[in-house]
């Protein structure tokens, strides 16, 4: 009976659109995830000749861990994943290679101890078991099919939530103490707390007990939703359908909440939000999402848009990327690329009637060009491991070509996909701080360990990719008593503030010049009030550097120069220059300092 129920559970037909979307979204997210969040930390791998792998056998049998090995593995993983996201029917063997590369990437060293990287290995393993399906087939053909690997994926997610809930049944979590600690005092819950302790009449400790209990309850709700997810398309039960909605809203609110709390868990929330959306939404909605990811999906709904669909896709991709870039939300940029590029690639490989456009010779030519582009993107990345990655991706794509040739499949989408992957890697490197962070991290470590020559070399490379800081300048002259101020509005962490003040005064040595900051809009937690004295560098120029100033939330404030002078009427304040290093850009000041150190 149990075996029969288990078999029927695994064989429950699911909408093919769910499997196709899970696969494509995961591959696109993996590509950008490994490039953006992991490569910047590659310099620490094997630093000083020290390493411990996650598994003892890997320490004994694996190759020596170096920055090149780690970064190269990440580059190849991303290039291959993105290429497969563009392929018509990604072969299981190639997906297995992505799984192996990703798993090797994190398991080669305990430095990568993010649990969601382990979870992603489980997801990729499950995806290997998915029946290869093209987007067009999922949109147009019979909509449902049994897919045991989908059940594996759903139950795996449920296991994660179940254990996470169990881990939070300790006294410190149930009492809310741990939640307050994780959320830096729980300020983010202030409105909710005021509601609970005011109109609802709860005591503050009871409020925190309720919050602590609710975390466990939420995770159990999501766990149950994943267990029931494989039955979403067959059960025909209103209760199950309603519960899927509960699961979806619970999962999304839980993961969006984690992002609002800035829990620094990488892209975990993005993956889980995508999985909850694809697995819990009703079938028609998921099919609608798939239409967006299909090369001619829009044309199927609106035939008269057939000719304009590619243009529309490019427009949507650019719009999302532009909005994401402007709003400082990289995920939107990647989503734009993910939604826009793979369907465009597939569309380019076919004519408007869906027939293969390229002859065999042209398809091989496109494949060769894509392979060269992917190799070149890796080789020219100005990161260690680039040349090795160039060879490895060429080899991987060659194996993929053999597999596709064996199946008599079209090579053109893979070639175009590899070229698109190369372009995405190049754009990612050019528009983010990946290379800057990598080299400055290497420089910082070398400097701490006393290898100043290596530090200098790394910092010089970092400076090549250093982003421009934000500079505010106000010019006087104004009477010394009045002072000068600049207003700034910021979001993200302000790590370093450099101030330079020029004063005309007969005796500048007698002046006491200070920099003060007042927040005028917003309530940044963990903020440090700045009131720093600037030192006289000579010729009436006063300078100062403040580090670790303000963190994360958007705020606006006023930076003001205050001068204490015995004879203020004799001088003027001529210029106030303020250099704000936002996000990780604080490193630049340290870079410049370190460059001076070896002299």
């Amino acid at each position: 009976m149990i075996a029969g129920l288990w078999a029927r559970y695994l064989e429950a037909p699911i909408l093919r659109a769910r499997a196709v979307l899970l696969l494509r979204f995961t591959l696109v997210l993996v590509a950008f995830d490994v490039w953006v969040t992991r490569m910047p930390h590659g310099g620490r791998y094997g630093a000083g000749g020290f390493n411990v792998a996650h598994f003892g056998w890997l320490d004994a049998l694996g190759p020596p861990v170096t920055p090149g090995l780690y970064v190269g593995t990440a580059m190849v993983t991303g290039l291959l994943a993105f290429t497969l996201a563009c392929a018509r029917r990604p072969p299981p063997a190639a997906l297995a290679l992505v799984f192996a590369l990703h798993t090797f990437g994190w398991s080669m060293s305990m430095l990568d101890s993010y649990q969601h990287h382990y979870l992603l290995s489980i997801v990729l393993l499950a995806l290997v078991g998915f029946t290869p399906t093209s987007v067009q087939d999922a949109v147009a053909g019979a909509s449902e099919r049994s897919e045991p690997a989908y059940g594996l994926l759903a139950v795996s997610a449920a296991v994660v939530y179940a254990y996470t809930a169990f881990g939070k049944t300790s006294a410190d979590w149930l009492s809310g103490d741990a939640l307050q600690r994780v959320t830096h005092g729980g300020e983010v819950f202030a409105p909710l707390r005021e509601l609970a302790t005011g109109p609802l009449g709860m005591s503050e400790p009871s409020f925190w007990w309720a919050m602590g209990h609710s975390v466990v309850a939420l995770q159990l709700v999501v766990c149950a939703a994943y267990l029931l997810a494989p039955l979403r398309d067959v059960a025909g039960s209103r209760g199950l359908a309603a519960y899927a909605w509960v699961g979806l809203f619970t999962a999304l609110s839980f993961h969006l909440g984690a992002e609002l709390l800035e829990l620094e868990i990488g892209w975990f929330s993005a993956y889980m939000a995508v999985y909850a959306t694809v697995m819990f939404l009703p079938g028609r909605w998921v099919w609608g999402l798939l239409v967006l990811a299909a090369p001619d999906g829009v044309a199927q709904l609106r035939p008269r848009w057939r000719e304009k669909e590619r243009l529309l896709r490019v427009g949507v991709a650019l719009l999302l990327a532009g909005l994401g870039g402007r709003a400082g939300v990289p995920l939107l940029v990647w989503l734009g690329a993910g939604l826009g590029v793979p369907p465009l690639v597939l569309a380019l490989a076919r004519d408007p009637d869906g027939r293969e456009r390229a002859s065999k010779l042209v398809a091989w030519g496109l494949f060769a060009a894509g392979t060269v582009a992917a190799s070149a993107a890796a080789a020219l990345a100005v990161l260690p491991g680039g040349p090795g990655a160039a060879l490895a991706i060429a080899l991987a794509l060659g194996l993929l070509a053999v597999e596709l040739w064996h199946r008599r499949a079209d090579l053109a989408p893979v070639g175009l996909g590899a070229a698109a992957a190369a372009a995405c890697l190049a754009v990612t490197l050019a528009t983010t701080e990946v290379r800057f962070d990598f080299h400055r991290n290497v420089g910082g470590d070398a400097r701490r360990r006393g290898d100043l020559a290596a530090a200098l070399e790394a910092y010089a490379l970092a400076n090549r990719f250093a982003p421009a800081p934000e500079v505010h300048v106000r010019r006087g002259p104004v009477p010394l008593d009045d002072g000068l101020e600049v207003r700034s509005a910021m979001e993200g962490a302000v790590r370093t503030v450099e101030a330079e003040v020029r004063v005309t005064h007969p005796d500048p040595e007698s002046l006491r010049v200070a920099l003060a900051h007042t927040v005028t809009v917003g309530r940044p937690p963990r903020a440090r009030t700045v009131r720093a004295r600037l030192r006289h560098r000579g010729d009436g120029v006063f300078v100062g550097v403040e580090r670790g100033v303000l963190r994360r939330v958007p705020f606006a404030g006023t930076w003001r120069v205050e001068i204490d002078a015995s004879r203020p009427a004799e001088g003027t304040l001529d210029r106030f220059e303020l250099l704000l290093q936002r996000d990780r850009r604080g490193a630049e000041a340290r870079v410049r300092q370190a460059l001076r150190a070896p002299r």
Binding site: Y9, E11, Y163, W209
Partner: protein
């Protein structure tokens, strides 16, 4: 395998829902009284499990079977591994290695620790300047009492010429400001790692 599965008995669904409701009431009482008891969780979990079984039963009864049995066994085996791996954490002597246990933001993760490393050269013990020796990311893992990293560090340091013994002392304070028992690990170079002094769990 293709025989039809009978629909779940109605009391399974309603009874489970009632049990879940009872659990929620008991948990509400816990919250208001600021106490922790198992009764509420057991009732709520029992209700949830009952509802899931009812749901699975109902959904599965509509589904046909298709693939060979070995595929189902393989999936079951993979899931058993996933269930078993985190369980090993709860059965191990080491509370600090939470890698595969899905214990995000646990009490262990937020311990504040002071780490010190010492080595004996020519019979005299001296402190190791860790930041000048090791990447800061590894120092953080040593602070988290990651046993494999501690062992490897002791071995690694013993490879330095003239070093006779190496030891690590890590003193941690919990979020409740309670001082935990220090974790001490020592290796006499050539003799191996001595047992950790003081229980890790």
């Amino acid at each position: 395998m293709d025989r039809p599965v009978p629909p779940p008995p109605p009391p399974l669904g309603w009874g489970s829902a009632a049990l879940l409701g009872l659990g929620v009431l008991l948990l509400g009482r816990d919250v208001l009284a600021q106490t922790t008891s198992a009764a509420g969780w057991i009732a709520a979990l029992g209700g949830v499990v009952g509802l899931i079984v009812a749901g699975l039963w109902r959904g599965s009864s509509a589904a046909p079977g298709a693939r060979p049995r070995r595929v189902h066994l393989l999936v079951a085996a993979l899931l058993l591994v996933q269930v078993a791996v985190p369980l090993t954490y709860y059965g191990s002597h080491d509370p600090y290695d939470e890698r595969f246990a899905w214990r995000m933001f646990s009490g262990v993760r937020v311990l504040e620790c002071r780490l010190a490393a010492f080595e004996t050269v020519d019979g005299a013990e001296r402190e190791i300047a860790l930041t000048q020796t090791l990447h800061v990311a590894w120092i953080n893992l040593l602070r988290r009492n990651r046993e494999a990293v501690q062992r490897r560090f002791l071995e690694w340091r013993c490879d330095v010429e003239g070093v006779e013994a190496v030891r690590l002392v890590n003193r941690c304070v919990g979020a409740d400001r309670r001082v935990r028992q220090p974790v001490r690990v020592r290796r006499d170079c050539g003799a191996g790692v001595a047992p950790t002094q003081g229980p890790r769990r």
